[in-house]
Symmetry: C2
Subunit: 373 residues, 2 copies
């Protein structure tokens, strides 16, 4: 069965939407934040811990799983859910972003992208068909179309040509797609040009994908530009399909893009910040390596309902981080992911009450404090 | 309250003992294996996971906690149990072994051991009194006397002098000991000389410690010598006190030393092996990095009741270890610790049935297979 997006309510004060995503692995309210499990594991966490922070969908990376352990190993294990022992919904990306950003030498042609395997130097070719074939085998709940990821800024002409290629690649992927229990999303490109974003949306909707993603963000653009890009896409996207903004996880960006009509977010930031000893809190990001926490026997965030905050102190976590004990990164990963999920819970409440803009103002005041007051 | 050892039964076929250790944090059957939580965390595991593998006491290292975060931080946190959120019993070592083995430059005098702090180069002096003072503040359930750790082999004269120093240090520590909720163990030294071991035991028992530890093993001696050293100590130790063999965790050594009357073991091996991708199983140690496990969708050990074996396959764990994902080390740590605890459970059963020697033969046949058949 394919996923189904049910629109419950549109906010009166902005373009925010409240919805439910019905999947083969449960129904989840949106807006939603997806933790990233790059290599079939959300770094440092167990599947039970992912559930405990009330995560819905998690994201796994096609590029990484293709290289290690290989999609056939996952297929023979019975698919990604069985392989990693996670019975919640999983979304796989197309591998495109990683090929464009991680591979040192690459050769982009109409066929696809040629690059060197970073682990053994082998020549590899990722095409729209290959990306879909791998994802069909991984058997995630949602697969992504293979698109061309360009940087920012890009000229209008370059962007226009790239959008056309992304559309041709989306069509090629859709044609070979072969998994009845998996949904396929199209990716909206077009840089910061409204007519290109609109064109891309219109062509993708003709192909009738199960959901749509806004791509080409988090590639060097400033926040205002990102919000504009998102607006250009959501303005034209169909209301009855879910909208996913890829790779965006800064708390303020989640708030601002929910306001612009985004339903799903993902980002590696909560687990990456955790490994560096940083915690996200209502009153901004804190660095637990700071000596002032040495004897701070209060939780990372007062009032937080996560396992980390209910059981451990800043002083203990600071000690673990100082000693490079992985339990420290684990506790902060739990907290940071839960923080972002709580943020989406609060946004859903604000949508229900038509107080999203009010929520944003309060969020900014709390998070940035006097700095932006 | 002090701990109390209750001897339930002595095996008929060897010197193995079945007992119960009554502590302020619960009662636990012996023989027992203690997981090591060097820096107030059993590497990669949560306190709940330590409970899940049915661990009793865990060990924390005085040397490491003295250097980071400092014993006063732990004291101000309300003691080690509160600091690390563990409500089971905790034993702290004296710091002696670490000072002798980790510090690069050290100066041993009658007063104690002078050495350089490995993190900031500061000059530090660890004395019997200081070790006890730190442990009193850490507020573990069991503290260890500060002893001189010598290598193997050592001459009779050197060993004899060292035993006398260890006895003087034990007396000095006991004199300043000041924590009514903590027990203090004496450490039996004496190398592989029976009369020195006997002398050490006799002098320590006169001082009346709450339990006794066999030291001076795992310092380069072969297995037969280790077993002899242990026999020389247990032969003379009082039956109504618990006996702890420090730093020994090779499965066969646990079996052989239970046979010689040891009640408690500790070792970093299960978590260290896990970080290198090794798993302990009834049929020997396996290396999950081996390519033959790539598509092995069976558990690490068939029949094992641990979280790792009940939920994950060798293929998945191999993938995690290959990708250096810490969840792999965590799963194998759970399994390896549970393996050693299961081993002690089986030994307790064998003692009840007076079949310890029979159990040893079967253990060797299974674990080493044809190699020792």
């Amino acid at each position: 069965m394919k996923i189904r997006y049910e629109l419950l309510k549109e906010a009166k004060d902005c373009n925010a939407r409240l919805g439910i995503l019905h999947t083969n692995h449960g129904d989840y309210e949106t807006p939603m934040f997806m933790p990233v499990g790059t290599q079939a594991t959300v770094k440092t966490l167990s599947p039970e811990e992912i559930k405990d922070v009330k995560a819905g969908i998690i994201l796994a990376n096609t590029y990484h799983l293709w290289l290690r352990p290989g999609e056939d190993v996952v297929l023979h294990a019975g698919g990604l859910h069985k392989f990693m022992n996670y019975d919640g919904p999983i979304l796989t990306d197309s591998g495109g972003f990683q090929v464009f950003s991680l591979a040192k030498r690459k050769d982009i042609t109409e066929e696809g992208v040629k690059f060197k395997n970073q682990y053994n130097g082998d020549s590899l070719l990722l095409t729209p068909e290959k990306s879909i074939e791998i994802q069909n085998k991984l058997d995630s709940d949602i697969a992504m179309s293979f698109d061309e990821c360009i940087g920012y800024p890009a000229t209008y002409d370059y962007c226009k040509q790239s959008v056309e290629r992304t559309l041709r690649w989306a069509r090629r992927g859709k044609e070979v797609f072969n998994n009845d229990n998996q949904s396929l999303f199209g990716i909206v490109q077009g840089g910061d040009y409204e007519d290109l974003r609109r064109h891309c949306v219109e062509e993708l909707t003709k192909m009738d994908f199960d959901g749509y993603s806004v791509g080409g963000t988090s590639v060097g653009e400033d926040k205002e530009t990102q919000y504009r890009m998102v607006s250009y896409a959501t303005k034209y996207l169909p209301k009855d399909k879910v909208r996913y903004l890829m790779g965006v996880g800064d708390p303020i960006d989640i708030v601002e893009n929910v306001i612009r009509g985004i339903d799903i977010f993902d980002c590696v930031s909560p687990t990456r910040l955790a490994r560096h000893g940083h915690a996200l809190t209502r009153y901004g990001k804190i660095n637990l390596k700071n000596s002032k926490y040495k004897e701070d026997f209060t939780p990372v965030e007062e009032g937080c309902d996560c396992y980390c905050c209910k059981n451990y102190t800043k002083a203990y976590i600071k000690h673990l981080i100082n000693c490079e004990e992985t339990f420290g990164a684990r506790l902060l990963s739990i907290h940071n992911i839960r923080y972002l999920i709580r943020l989406t819970e609060e946004l859903r409440k604000a949508i229900k009450e038509d107080k999203v803009l009010e929520y944003r103002d309060k969020f900014i005041k709390d998070y940035y404090g006097d700095k932006n007051a």
